[in-house]
């Protein structure tokens, strides 16, 4: 093998390794994207079953129930409600009537099993995803009242 061929071989190997790395990164990326759905979207069946996704909205007043360390509550965007079950300690700023974002899977029975309930860092702060869900629901209701 001449020096030129050898150099070519190494360059080819380098390019192959880089391509493999890129493919690997993009594949990992693709399979770990977590999409966000509003309670209305979930109720309309737009959310995937069996895949992890996020929902956001308000914790419905009076919906919080504790059994041992497992908690149940309802996330609402004022239009539709989604029951959520979560086992673990809730974040400090979790409160009924306040915004919340939960990540987990939707069961066939319509119960959302959260693996993570996201903490806020400030009491006045509304998670943008929860705000987005509320805005959309409000917009949807407004559109419905306009259209008879």
């Amino acid at each position: 093998m001449t020096a030129r061929q050898r150099r070519f071989m190494w360059v080819a190997i380098g390019v192959l390794v880089l391509c493999a790395a890129a493919a690997f990164v993009l594949n990992a990326f693709q399979s770990n994207l977590v999409f966000f759905f509003t309670p209305t979207q979930v109720a309309q069946g737009e959310a995937p079953q069996g895949r992890i996704f996020r929902i956001g909205g308000l914790v419905k007043d009076g919906s919080l129930q504790r059994q041992d360390v497992q908690v149940q509550f309802v996330v609402t965007d004022t239009a539709r409600d989604i029951p959520v079950v979560y086992s673990g300690l809730l974040p400090d700023l979790f409160k009924e009537g306040k915004g919340v974002v939960a990540q987990g899977r939707l069961g066939a029975d319509g119960l959302f099993t959260a693996t993570e309930v996201l903490a806020k860092h400030d009491e006045n702060y509304m998670p943008p995803e929860a705000q987005h869900a509320l805005d959309k629901a409000t917009a949807g209701q407004a559109a419905q009242t306009v259209k008879p």
Partner: protein
Amino acid sequence: MLAELGHFALILALLVACVQATLPLWGAWREIAAWQALARPAAFAQFGLVALSFAALTACFVNNDFSVSYVAQHSNSLLPTVYRVAAVWGGHEGSLLLWVLMLALWTAAVAAFSFSLPQAMVARVVGVLGWVSVGFLLFILALSNPFERLLPAAADGRDLNPLLQDPGLIIHPPMLYMGYVGFSVAFAFAIAALMAGRLDAAWARWSRPWTVVAWLFMTFGIGLGSWWAYYELGWGGWWFWDPVENASLMPWLVGTALIHSLMASDKRGNFKAWTVLLSISAFSLSLLGTFLVRSGVLTSVHAFATDPKRGVFILMFLAVVVGFSLTLYAWRMPKVRMGQAVSLLSRETLLLANSVLLVVACAAVLLGTIYPLVIDALNLGKLSVGPQYFNAVFVPLMVPLLVIMVPGTVVRWRESQWSELLLRLRWVALAALGVGLAAPALAGEWSIGAAFGFFLAAWVVLGSVQHMVLRWRQPGQIGAAYWGMQCAHIGLAVVVAGITGVKSYEVERDVRMGVGDVVTIEPYAFRLQGMSEVKGPNYRAVRADVEVLKNGQPIDRLYPEKRRYFSTAMPMTEAAIDTGFMRDLYVSLGDPIDGPTPQWSMRVYYKPFVPWIWAGVLLMVLGGGLAAVDRRYRAASPRTETMPTGVAPQGGA
């Protein structure tokens, strides 16, 4: 009065920065010595003025001057004095002022410790830093002035976010900013060298200590942030792949690549083009980090700003910096002579591999961090990238990095023999393999992941130890930089061992406890002895008294708290931790649970090896410190540098 004084000082600083950014550069271009000489006094004057401004703001905080809007938003009369000082950088405006103060400090340091540098070079470096300073001072004065008055004055302040009322948070931002801003010096050196059209060994030599110092502050800052998240957020995690963490990790990764690449440029004259690109990237990523953290596009404890103009300004500034730098690079770089050819197995090649791995890791982190923001900005939906992505990508990239770390310090420059390398490292490899196989069995259950992690850590530690022993036996002086390198490498290995241990063997229990209940994680038992009410300076708390027993013997008492701050009524979990050499025991208190007898939800964690993560970070910081004080960098100008002939002695950092 004080607020106005600070404001005026800041305006004067902007004027001085304008002078600093123009005349010395012009003087360097036209070879006018008198104008070049302006660089140093301008740098000192700017530092003095910004420091005065910062002191004025601090005084407003200490004096509880709630007629200053920023003070009213971030302080409170009940806040202890030390936190009032820390509250100066507890919000958007003050933290930017801290950014500028750090920049002025770095500039003044360059001016003060550069007497071995040619006058024109100093003028260019200080001039470039002047431009950065102009940008940030304009930003503060136009869009985020911390001295704005609030009329009529507030009766009391809104208080500092309770999460930030913590000793770790007093020093975390200044350290991290020292790192972020420190990369501006490496950037300025690279730009100055491009302007001069002279990318020689001297440029790389001058850049090295500055880059290392910036890197060590950044390392320390990231470590502090991780430590704070671990004990303050109350759920015992130490790294979340949160965009804010990624924002600091990205410049750190590229900065690490830069340190190693600068070494090749300094010693061998190789990879100059690459090194310059890394210098530009490290600083650009610092700016990107500032944008991500401060613009409000991310929502976290760090994001204060809601004014979209602020985000746009930083983004524009970033675009100008990157655009200008790359244009200059494209224009000047073809003139730079390429380095010498090297063989496949040489230190140059391994250093290049190190750079590529770190940059690819950074690119992967960047993709995961930016993608959701771009998708959201384009209104294509809302999504997030889970930590699984980062773990899946980052860990496989770090494995080869750790593997080549040992041969990287052993092989010679230019050309080395495989047989020699294998002969030298075979016992190290075997011993590391032995540790890898045995350590998990001693620590708990054997698993392939744990074995591999401990093998990598042992490989780096044993390789470094062997290298140090062999080097010690050789005649000749050993520079501090050499010890620094080994110390930092061992530090990284300790971090890896810590992460491996905690990931493999941690036990987390979310439980419900009443007084007298016991939770057991062999060989430890946690007994809730009682609950009490305590009152702090600006909060009231429920405190649990938890006795920790090991094999039935009491070893410690932990007092986790649930605090409620008066000013905001915001609840806060204060975890209690018993730290040992090999493990942490972590207890945090949750909410009360209604029932016939009062009970509380609690988190009880056994976290083996977790203190190693921060011990490793400290070793890396120490290593950086040793490397930076090496006498070589303080020697007179290395302008008559000749390449060492033949084979360099083993080692050298």
